[in-house]
Symmetry: C2
Subunit: 196 residues, 2 copies
DNA sequence: CACCAAAACTAACAACCGTTAGTCTTCTTT
DNA sequence: AAAGAAGACTAACGGTTGTTAGTTTTGGTG
């Protein structure tokens, strides 16, 4: 009976999540109604509930999928035996790529995580604090080894993470500057601002 | 009859705008209801309309007050005869101070301007694009004069503007790092990342 | 003290929210 | 072709939204 469990079954749900991500990004989580979402999917609002449990579930899926991706990559950087500067660059470049390739999801996660409901809000915040702490530890080691300037690691981390978010405003200028150029400029500013 | 037009009259409206700013920051514009706001002011929801015309008016006031403040300061920097690097530093420091001293307003403006209704949304966006352009022009001159590295001015501007937004996450760490330390670290990263 | 405007109140409106119940249709599988 | 599940539909629920109308209370001025 459990032969092809998730061949098509996942597909419809995946479409809903996909459309929801776009709408959340455009209008924000609270301003997106289930009836708008249903229209985008091409179905009546009530029909959505044959595939999902709640609107909140959609936001939760987006935010935690993103969090998991970032954490996974951070662990790879931690295990690397490159210089601290190289580790930081690796992380920053990953953030840039995520912003470029998975823009909608990243944007919604960055902007609407506040609307997660407990206990997921607390869980999400804890994951992010942990992420920032581990990232800051890498920077701290770099400072100790005189690879970086003497500054507060946490400030450096927040600066880098926020700077990358600027890409969301660049999105419309794709034609005048290529993604590769943008990535290199951004990395140059941040890494040169950091290294001694 | 028009003797003391706006002595106390402004006061009640000012309180409403103040409380609204805090609530918008905490919950977001859409998630803040007029009844929540009324409770914060200590009044029934309908009574608010003796002082304001609409909820949208409150958001509009916040966003355009902030925009005006930034534009005014940019003009001061443009007129200055300092080096381009100094102009940029001056602008960045202003952004940091605004983030520290007028956090609630800046935060709401940064986050909820999307919920402005036309034609104000278009007007706001135009002002911001103009601001970015003029800021980028300062950077471009700095590059021409070999003050800055060779990179795309617009990318540099977006990076700086976004980096400053990182302060919103630092707000809770006030105790471990002072505002002055934070400002200096942030300026150091950005300016050193920029200068040749 | 009487008056008048400012500003509070109650009540209600139409619209929309996320979600559920129950029914009908569609498609797959035997 | 029959059966059964998957998924669409309509209708409706209780609640909340921003806002208006109409009335009463408040507070300063003649």
């Amino acid at each position: 009976m459990a032969k092809i469990i998730s061949a098509k079954p996942a597909s419809r749900k995946a479409v809903i999540l996909e459309k929801a991500t776009v709408l959340f990004r455009q209008k924000g989580y609270n301003a997106t109604s289930m009836r708008h979402l249903a229209e985008a999917v091409g179905v009546e609002a009530a029909s959505l509930y044959n595939h999902i449990d709640s609107k909140a579930e959609l936001l939760k899926a987006i935010c935690f999928t993103m969090a998991a991706a970032y954490i996974e990559q951070l662990e790879a950087a931690e295990k690397s035996d490159a210089s601290q500067a190289h580790k930081v660059e690796q992380i920053v470049r990953f953030h840039i790529r995520m912003m470029l390739e998975r823009f909608e999801e990243v944007y919604v996660s960055n902007r609407d995580w506040k609307h997660l409901q407990e206990p997921f809000l607390a869980q999400f915040l804890q994951q992010r604090r942990s992420y920032e702490k581990r990232f800051a530890d890498i920077v701290a080691v770099g400072i100790d080894q005189n690879e970086f300037r003497k500054l507060h690691p946490h400030v450096a981390v927040l600066t880098m993470l926020s700077a990358v978010r600027g890409i969301e405003f660049w999105q419309k200028n794709k034609r005048s500057i290529s993604a590769a150029e943008m990535e290199n400029d951004l990395v140059q500013i941040l890494i040169n601002g950091l290294v001694a």
